[in-house]
């Protein structure tokens, strides 16, 4: 039963569309919050996983069939697992604008619920003279039960368990290069790190899942991003933003406890030969994302409590001029441009985003006392890649006087083939509330 156990465990990693940063309106890679602005972001994430991309880049069941033989006898049959897993999470994020071009982020993902169903189907094998028939599904599990192994059942857990905390900083360095700003080109660097507050899967369970970044498999322990955005202010009225992000995410080695067989004495008793503990160095992520944001409807900036003061100021500037930020000189007014700059401070009402994300995943390295066991685990985590597509729509109500944004995104890894990677679908629904720490 070795193969089935280890394989079942392998399906539990799910890619979730989470990042430490959550910025309003559109998801440009270089966007930062204005200084003194705090953004609360609460999102509900549901992820479904039932397929994978195999080593040949073909869509496949998460697990291969497992041939079972009566010891010394014929083929009992083939266990055909069609496992699926569901994660539900609440992701709590806070972003704070330290400078206009420097934003701090904190994300606190909380797993609400995890369910893993092994869905073990059965294909009968040879006629078995010993029992006078082929093994049915019930026959096989009755046999297995007599050996001490019951049929793995659906596992539900992780209710309300916190995952690893994510901390991040984004710095948009091109703010200091006027020539780049003038052509609508921005670039930022971001660094994210995690605080390991999540929990590992119970090693004694045949089917279970943890809440650490390794279990969730969506972000490294330390991530470096270099991002670029190109806006088209003049050509397209700022309605299109194209972004590019390259990243490298490091997973640190972690030590895990070996199962002793306390709950499953025949199936999970690895400790005697792999040692009491073993280490895992998950394969690092690296890759690139391409993002296109289309502002479908900017909408008017209504005269509301959120906009009133600023709108009046803009109006007056439009009428007579504005004071230079750098000096007390009164410069010549550019009425239309000032109104535009004013409106840009408020997110457009409807924005559509499309993101393509390529992630190369390196080999994961296991290290225990027993090299063969290490290989058996590593075989499930060979180098590969993921191709994710995300569609997102954001509704901002700030222009209308309501201080929040709503967004819905759907991310899938099933459309574009990957390799040695799982292919989940992720639905995210979120609410963002900007809070000015030093006044609107």
């Amino acid at each position: 039963m070795k193969t089935s156990t280890q394989s079942i465990l392998s399906v539990l990693s799910i890619i979730l569309a989470l990042t430490g940063f959550s910025l309003p309106a559109h998801a440009a890679f270089t966007e930062t919050l204005p200084q003194g602005m705090l953004l609360l972001d609460e999102s509900f994430v549901v992820s479904w996983l039932g397929e994978r991309w195999n080593n040949d880049g073909k869509r496949d069941e998460l697990l291969d069939g497992i041939d079972r033989y009566d010891p010394g006898g014929g083929l009992q049959g083939i266990i055909k697992p069609e496992p699926d897993a569901t994660y539900m999470m609440l992701v709590n994020r806070v972003n704070i604008g330290i400078l206009d071009n420097l934003t701090f982020a904190l994300a606190v993902p909380v797993v609400l619920y995890t369910r893993v169903s092994p869905n073990l189907n059965w294909e009968s094998g040879d006629y078995q003279s010993q029992i006078g028939r082929v093994y049915s599904d019930a026959d096989f599990w009755e046999w297995a039960q007599s050996m001490g192994q019951s049929k793995p059942q659906t596992w539900i857990g992780n209710r309300g368990k916190i995952s690893d905390l994510v901390l991040g900083l984004r710095f948009r360095w091109t703010d200091y290069i006027e020539s780049l700003n003038e052509v609508g080109f921005k670039s930022a660097v971001s660094v994210l790190g995690v605080i390991p507050t999540g929990s590992n899967a119970d090693p004694e369970e045949v089917v279970s899942a943890g809440t650490s970044m390794w279990d969730l498999n969506f972000q490294g322990d330390l991530a470096f991003h270099l991002s670029f955005d190109k806006t088209f202010e003049r050509e397209l009225d700022g309605r299109l933003i194209i972004g590019l992000d390259v990243f490298y995410e490091v997973f640190f080695e972690r030590e895990l406890t070996s199962p002793t067989g306390a709950k499953h004495p025949l199936l999970r008793n690895f400790a005697p030969y792999i040692g009491d503990t073993y280490t895992v160095k998950p394969g690092d992520f690296s890759g690139v994302s391409l993002d296109i944001d289309i502002i479908a409807y900017k909408g008017p900036v209504l005269d509301t409590w959120l906009t009133r003061g600023k709108k009046n100021k803009a109006d007056s500037t439009a009428e007579g001029g504005v004071e230079s930020a750098e000096s007390d000189e009164v410069v010549e007014a550019e009425p239309e441009r000032d109104m535009s700059e004013f409106e840009k401070r408020f997110p457009p009402i409807i924005t559509f985003g499309l993101n393509y994300n390529f992630v190369h995943v390196q080999q994961t390295d296991y290290n225990s006392d027993f090299p063969q066991w290490d290989f058996d685990q590593e075989d499930l985590w060979r180098p590969g890649y993921k191709n994710a597509l995300t569609g997102k729509v954001t509704f901002s109500f700030i222009r209308l006087g309501a201080p929040f944004n709503l967004y819905v995104s759907y991310r899938t890894l099933r459309l574009i083939p990957g390799k040695n990677s799982r292919a989940p679908d992720i639905l995210t629904v979120g609410l963002q509330i900007p809070i000015p720490l030093i006044g609107w």
């Binding site: 006898g73 009755e142 007599s146 050996m147 670039s187 670029f228 690296s286 080999q363 006392d369 090299p371």
Partner: protein, 837 residues
């Protein structure tokens, strides 16, 4: 934005993608073959072995014994314990049966037969791997124990499932002018039939009409007392119950719930209610040893951990057991025989315990005989009939099979309406292919419900195979005039893998004239054995250095060669002529026990006779015997003489070769039926032959070499060629008489097919004595890789040895072993340290 900026941007991106995406080596399969040179004292060699392969040894023990063999054998306790009542004792309960049995067997062999040198080495392995000595001992002896144990289980099953009584073909064979049944008489009465069917390696009938109907008579044995076995079975995961009408009222607990229960839970049928002469107090003592709901019986003060030398885990104060009561908690720790002897029970309760038939508490006396039908109606189930003609399946209901119940056997008590022989007429609509050898494989079962070992099933006979020829075969093929000219080779059927095999060649049969010995061993891989393959180069303090092909943690190998060129390979060859059965026989033939059996000719009587018997094999584990042979002998003849002197644990086939080109096949068993002459000769339990027709000992009754195509080749599989009557029937034992190998083992027909297929392959590669075909190492490997000879599921290791030059070429570490690269090892150079193993 200027072009330069874009270039800069692109360069930055490329920097991230290339520099920050370092190559990480993809994982690769670690070597599954461990090699080591072991030198020094036996203990030191073991220590080196244990330290070098510690995780592999621990893995093998955990995954093979703990996770697989032990739970698998535990399932057989319900079949064994009713006959060998000793295994109802407390120390075998709670899932401890097989672990305890394997350990006791290992200790017995250690004390009685294993040379001290190997005990020391096993101790060294244990210390090196940081494991218990008992664990490594079990790892080194389980193979012999398991094979013997398995034979007992199969035999017990064999005497209960249906069997072919007789076999007949068309009446026209009685007047066709041909000796169809091969008895030497032509057209005598009964020339068309076998009145008593016996399995045979040859054809059962010759020149049968292609449109003939085959008539089988199949019967199902009814053994009184089987109720004791069958009623103990329980629907899976359910409560164990017995129909109330089947139980004597006196056996039912006075508990009000039990008194009204129907069916009666087995918990209501405690032994303490069985024997009115047993005082309530004494019975309660025994009961409390089994039922932890009686806390009054426990006396924690009696347990003093670690104070007693005989019982290292605890001390049992006399007060703990002299009153017949022993604490339940004591059982798991009672791992040494000294700890659980009969003094743990009061004398009276011992008697009761021996009378217990159904684990844990129901006495056979409690079951009414009229209920036997429930447990075994003694009927062949016609609907279970499946007949293969070559590889074409015919089943009950498809029109080719008709059945009817014959009259009940005269004088036999019918336990059900269908308790009578079943006549089966089989006639495939398209007939049999003319002028061909036809293989028939019959499968059928009875109606006895068997709930354990799971899954639920009826008692099914092994796949019985026989061969006959159809009219024109002899004329078309120039052979087939005698039944022994037509091999019972069968055809390839799904799930029927070939067995272990070995062959040797020399002189004209090899390109350089030097000897070769090739071996492919397959028995049980269990999806993990191959990961523990090991090649040991051993330099003993005294004797010849040698190499063994085996597994980590095990001090012996399935094949090996020493620096003098003496080479061996061995395969199991199932035999009931083994020491376990021998011990049973010896007990049964005690005069007092014979009386008991005469009065109780059933399993219950048998269980009374065998109440103290445990499965303890006499003999040296075969691997250790062969290892010792390598250490001390130079030639195959010396090795043969050595093996003759060794007591055998089970049935084995071995092939010996040496540098001078001698090739000897040896067929061994426990030799329980003869008296050892003391001089090397063919006798009970020890038969051997060579490819030399000048010695009558090497040819069969038909004047043919036993297992050779030419004078320069020889082969073995996993059945006996010469030791065919390994176990002569013992008439007085009736249905309990042990049987010869062809009659019971499921390996027999698989091995026959392997043997004959290997013969065809050897003929293709080596040819006849008159042609120039010959093989070398590469061709020998090619022969081993012949698909029909490869067990794709349980292949374990394959090697070709060159005894004259000290080279061995081994494929292992994967399944099948023959698909692995055959690595060449130079024995002398490796041992001398000139090359790394």
């Amino acid at each position: 934005m200027r072009v330069g900026s874009w270039v800069l941007l692109v360069l930055v991106v490329l920097f991230f993608m290339v520099v920050l995406t370092p190559g990480c080596d993809e994982t690769s399969q670690p070597s599954t073959v461990q090699t080591i040179v072991l030198k020094g004292s036996p203990y030191d060699r073991g220590l080196q072995h244990g330290k070098a392969f510690k995780p592999y040894i621990r893995s093998l023990y955990t995954r093979l014994l703990t996770n697989s063999i032990v739970p698998y054998l535990n399932r057989e306790q319900l079949n064994i314990a009713p006959v060998l009542n000793k295994y109802n004792d407390p120390q075998y309960q709670g899932g401890q049966f097989s672990a305890q049995m394997l350990l006791e067997s290992g200790r017995y062999m250690k004390d009685k037969a294993i040379p001290e040198e190997y005990v020391d080495e096993i101790r060294g392995i244990a210390d090196g791997a940081e494991m218990e000595f008992d664990e490594i001992l079990s790892l080194n002896t389980f193979f012999d124990t398991m094979m013997s144990f398995r034979s007992i289980v199969l035999f017990i099953q064999n005497i209960q499932h249906p069997y072919i009584q007789s076999l007949s073909f068309g009446e026209e064979l009685d007047s066709d002018g041909f000796d169809n049944d091969g008895n030497g008489d032509t057209d005598e009465a009964g020339d068309n039939r076998m009145d008593v069917y016996v399995s045979t390696p040859y054809a059962v009938m010759l020149e049968v009409e292609p449109d003939a109907a085959i008539r089988f008579v199949i019967d199902d044995p009814a053994l009184l007392g089987l109720a004791c076995i069958d009623l103990r079975n329980t629907p899976p995961h359910g409560e164990m119950t017995v129909e109330r009408s089947c139980v004597e009222e006196s056996c039912i607990s006075p508990d009000p719930e039990c008194q009204t229960a129907d069916p009666v839970p087995l918990d209501c049928l405690d032994v303490r209610y069985m024997d009115p002469e047993c005082s309530a107090e004494a019975c309660m003592d025994l009961a409390c040893a089994q039922v932890e709901e009686f806390p009054a019986c426990f006396d924690n003060a009696c347990i003093q951990p670690g104070a007693n030398g005989d019982c290292p885990n605890m001390t049992l104060e006399a007060s703990c057991y002299t009153d017949g009561c022993m604490e339940k908690e004591c059982y798991p720790s009672l791992s040494t025989p000294e700890c659980y002897d009969e003094k743990c029970y009061s004398e009276k309760c011992q008697e009761i315990r021996r009378g217990v038939c159904l684990f844990p508490r129901v006495g056979s006396d409690c079951l009414k005989t009229e209920c036997v039908e429930i447990s075994d109606p003694s009927c062949v189930n016609p609907e279970s009939l499946r007949i293969y003609v070559n590889d074409t399946l015919y089943a009950h209901g498809d029109g080719s099979i008709t059945t009817r119940l014959l009259d009940p056997v005269e004088g036999k008590t019918q336990v059900s309406d269908c308790d009578a022989p079943l006549e089966v007429i089989f006639q495939p609509p398209e007939g049999f292919e003319p002028a061909s050898a036809v293989s028939i494989t019959l499968q059928t079962g009875d109606l006895a419900p068997v709930y354990s070992p799971e899954p639920f099933h009826h008692r099914n006979m092994r796949d019985e195979r026989f061969v006959f020829t159809t009219k024109g075969y002899a004329e078309a093929h120039g052979t087939g005039h005698k039944v022994w000219e037509v091999p019972n080779k069968g055809v390839e059927l799904s799930g029927k893998m070939p067995t272990s095999l070995a062959f040797g060649a020399r002189n004209k049969a090899t390109k350089d004239g030097k000897p070769l010995l090739a071996h492919h061993f397959g028995l049980l891989d269990n999806d993990m054995m191959h990961e523990h393959s090991a090649l040991f180069f051993i330099v003993p303090e005294k004797g010849y250095p040698y190499a063994l092909v085996g597994y980590t943690g095990i001090a012996w190998g399935f094949s090996g060669m020493n620096t003098e060129g003496l080479t061996y390979a061995f395969n199991p060859s199932d035999s009931l002529d083994n020491s376990l059965v021998g011990r049973v026989m010896a007990e049964m033939f005690k005069p007092e026990n014979l009386m008991i059996l005469l009065e109780n000719p059933d399993l219950e009587g048998l269980s009374k006779v065998l109440r103290e018997i445990r499965l303890l094999p006499d003999g040296v584990p075969i691997g250790i015997a062969l290892r010792e042979m390598l250490k001390n002998n130079k030639t195959a003849d010396d090795g043969l003489a050595y093996l003759y002197d060794q007591p055998r644990t089970y049935g084995w086939n071995a092939l010996l070769a040496d540098a001078a080109g001698e090739l000897i096949a040896v067929e061994m068993d426990g030799a329980t039926q003869g008296v050892k002459s003391g001089t090397l000769t063919n006798e009970d339990g020890f038969y051997y032959y060579r490819p030399d027709a000048s010695d009558p000992e090497n040819v069969d009754t038909h004047g043919r070499l036993y297992s050779s195509i030419t004078p320069d080749d020889i082969r073995i599989a996993s059945h006996f060629r010469k030791n065919t009557a390994d176990m002569e029937p013992i008439i007085i034992m009736g249905v309990f008489s042990p049987k010869a190998q062809p009659e019971w083992t499921g390996f027999y027909f698989r091995s026959l097919r392997t043997y004959y297929m290997l013969g065809e392959v050897m003929e293709a590669y080596i040819g006849t004595p008159d042609d120039d075909r010959a093989i070398d190492v590469d061709l020998a490997i090619e022969m081993l890789r012949t698909p029909e000879l490869v067990d794709t599921r349980d292949s374990m290791n394959a090697c070709v040895y060159e005894p004259a030059v000290g080279l061995m070429h081994c494929g292992m570490g994967g399944v099948p072993a023959t698909d692995q690269p055959f690595i060449a090892y130079d024995l002398a150079a490796t041992i001398a340290g000139e090359v790394s193993p």
